[in-house]
């Protein structure tokens, strides 16, 4: 008798906890459908279009001097902006997590500003400041320094849009970890730098790497802000995303989609790295917690 009632209890529990099968299938189907339609199909189109005229056309459009220059510039921009954003992110997170000061919440809001401002506005800001008619433009042109429609402008615009990535990742992490381990290191005779490299950095390394990865993806893929300040000079100020647009506007579909395929590959590589990072981080945690 008691066995029967226990059984009926279990079935009733099952019924209340799980939805009917058709709900499950509809939801899963809907999700897969949306992902396929809006994510996978475009990706496939990029590849199909890129290889529409065969492998030779694809490879020759990628080895075209303009395309190569665009790739080089994109790498160069990432090489400058990612370290700068990392240094900024770490120092901002340090300041916010460690010190109490007036206007701290305002600073946190300001760090988020690039996320809420349209990238085109970000580009325009720099045109208004450094452009020929801008505030500082005349002074710079007098001294023969070109910022707008040149590489420095692209760097500035990219810095603006990638600013928050590392800081955003580190601030909650460092606030959660707290200050005690660093105080312990100092009391044991470690210098500030030793404390930073031996205690602070290892504790936040996974978050930091994650932030750097996202920052890199954005730095290489940014279009809007860079488009405004770059001037689209072929072989000089065209980054890869700009190269894609310029080629497309000139009906060079293979060239355009070949460039796009590279950016798509970057996205895939980023995702793979991110997954590996998360996996490594979990392994790390498991290793330290296994009793």
């Amino acid at each position: 008798m008691s066995a029967v009632s226990a059984n009926s209890f279990i079935t009733s529990k099952k019924l209340t906890l799980s939805d009917p099968n058709w709900v499950r299938y509809v939801l899963i189907g809907l999700t897969l459908g949306i992902i396929g339609l809006f994510l996978l199909l475009p990706l496939l189109t990029v590849l199909v279009e890129a290889f529409a005229k065969g492998w030779t056309a694809y490879s020759s459009s990628l080895t075209h001097p303009d395309a190569l220059a665009a790739m080089r510039l994109t790498l160069f921009i990432a090489l400058i902006t990612v370290p700068l954003t990392t240094v900024f992110g770490v120092s901002a997170a340090w300041a916010i997590a460690r010190f109490d000061f007036r206007g701290k919440s305002l600073l946190i809001t300001l760090i988020d500003l690039p996320f809420s401002v349209s990238p085109v506005i970000a580009g325009l800001i720099y045109v208004l400041i450094f452009g020929a008619q801008g505030w500082l433009g005349p002074w710079f042109s007098e001294h023969d320094i070109k910022i707008i429609f040149a590489v420095p402008g692209i760097v500035l615009a990219t810095l603006f849009v990638t600013f928050p990535f590392v800081a955003r990742e580190l601030i909650p992490l460092m606030q959660e970890i707290g200050h005690e381990e660093e105080e312990a290191a100092l009391s044991l005779g470690a210098s500030g730098w030793q404390t930073f490299f031996r205690v602070t950095l290892p504790n936040v390394k996974w978050g930091l790497l994650n932030g750097v990865l996202l920052c890199n993806a954005r730095a290489m893929g940014e279009f809007g802000a860079v488009s405004v300040v770059s001037g689209h000079i072929r072989g000089l100020t065209n980054t890869l995303p700009l190269h894609v647009e310029v080629s497309y506007n000139e009906y060079d579909f293979v060239g355009s989609f070949a460039g796009a395929s590279l950016l798509a590959a970057l996205a895939v590589v980023t995702l793979v790295f991110k997954t590996v990072l998360e996996w490594k981080q979990n392994q790390d945690k498991k290793l330290k917690a296994k009793g």
Binding site: E180, E181, E183, A184, A185, L186, S187, L188, G189, A190, S191, Q194, R198, V199, P202, N203, L287, K288, A289, K290, G291
Partner: protein, 344 residues
């Protein structure tokens, strides 16, 4: 003097955490900074360590003025309430940390580090855990590792911030005894912060009682218990019955054996073991009613109520003595006060 603190004051905004504190601690003592939470005891410890800066006053360690020295140059060992072990390092690396970050000229070789770390892990009886990570240890183990780590740099003073505060009652009791023994063997001048008066009395050779950022009393545990300097110390250390002459009938206290004439306007503090109860004689004026009692092991704690009063009076007496009185709840008993401290 091993540790001297001269006229230290510290404010956090408008809150005065420490108010003109001066304190001398001789070589080799194990001192408890005792007080309720918010009394400034942790702040004082952190100022001595150099983790916090005082607004005014100076700190001396072994005669050297260290007020402006950064923490890393003060040669202190600091043990945190929540251990603060480096979570990404093994137990061995945690203990070795202080040796590895020494300037190259002073840094010992790998073989010496190895030996020293294993010696220290042996001292805290946890050598078998040397390759574990902090997450894999229990609270008591972590705190002992934290202590070994602090001792690795051979500190001239050891500072412990509520070292047992985050531990279970049983572990806490073991570690107290262990710390006392360890201090006896090492003889490093040590200060520990606690809000638990029992812990302070049990472990420390000297107790400093703090309240509202001031030192209320400093002395050996027995002295502080037997001769409290003021009403706060008397209430904070051990149990106390408070008799206000205005609330309690002066005649009743006289009948209980407490002369009140020369103490007009003062308050009597009476320890529970200074109250004696006997079966009531018919002619006594100092009778009370036995309300309840609790077994505290060797002692019985007796709750008494004076007729016409809601406040309870507590007495304590040995188990066997109480049994011989054959008392029941509701019995009338006579009360006699052997000794009282008088405070304003």
């Amino acid at each position: 003097m091993s540790i001297s603190v001269n006229h230290i004051s510290k404010h956090f905004g408008s809150f005065s955490a420490l108010d003109n504190i001066s304190l001398d601690i001789p070589e080799g003592e194990l001192v408890a900074l005792l007080g309720p939470s918010g009394c400034g005891k942790t702040t004082l410890l952190r100022i001595i360590a150099g983790l916090e800066q005082a607004d005014q006053g100076d700190v001396f360690l072994k005669g050297d003025k260290v007020t402006d020295k950064p923490v890393k140059n003060r040669q202190i060992g600091f043990v945190f309430q929540h251990y603060a072990l480096f979570r990404h390092m093994t137990v061995f690396e945690n203990v070795a940390f202080g040796l590895r970050v020494k300037p190259r000229s002073e840094r010992p070789g790998e073989a010496i580090i190895h030996k020293k770390v294993h010696d220290l892990l042996g001292l805290v009886q946890l050598d078998w855990l040397h390759d574990r990570y902090p997450d894999q240890l229990s609270g008591g183990q972590r705190q002992r590792i934290a202590l070994a780590r602090a001792l690795a740099v051979e500190p001239s003073v050891l500072l412990l911030d509520e070292p047992f505060g985050a531990l279970d009652a049983g572990v806490r009791k073991d570690l107290r005894q262990w710390l006392r023994n360890l201090h006896h063997d090492l003889n490093v001048t040590s200060i520990f912060v606690t809000h638990d008066q029992e812990e302070a009395m049990e472990v420390a050779s000297q107790v400093v009682v703090l309240n509202h950022g001031r030192i209320e009393q400093q002395g050996a545990p027995g002295d502080i218990y037997d001769h409290p300097a003021n009403a706060f110390v008397s209430r904070f250390i051990g149990q106390t019955n408070v008799f206000n002459l205005e609330e309690h009938d002066s005649d009743w206290l006289q009948a209980a054996g407490l002369p009140t004439a020369q103490h007009y306007g003062k308050i009597a503090h009476v320890r529970p073991h200074d109250i004696v109860i006997e079966k009531s004689r018919a002619d006594s004026d100092a009778f009370v009613t036995l309300k309840d009692w609790q077994h505290l092991g060797a002692l019985i704690r007796i709750e008494l109520v004076k007729n016409g009063s809601a406040a309870s009076v507590y007495a304590e007496m040995p188990n066997d003595q109480f049994r011989r009185l054959h008392l029941n709840k509701g019995d009338k008993v006579d009360l006699r006060i052997r000794h009282a401290h008088w405070f304003h």
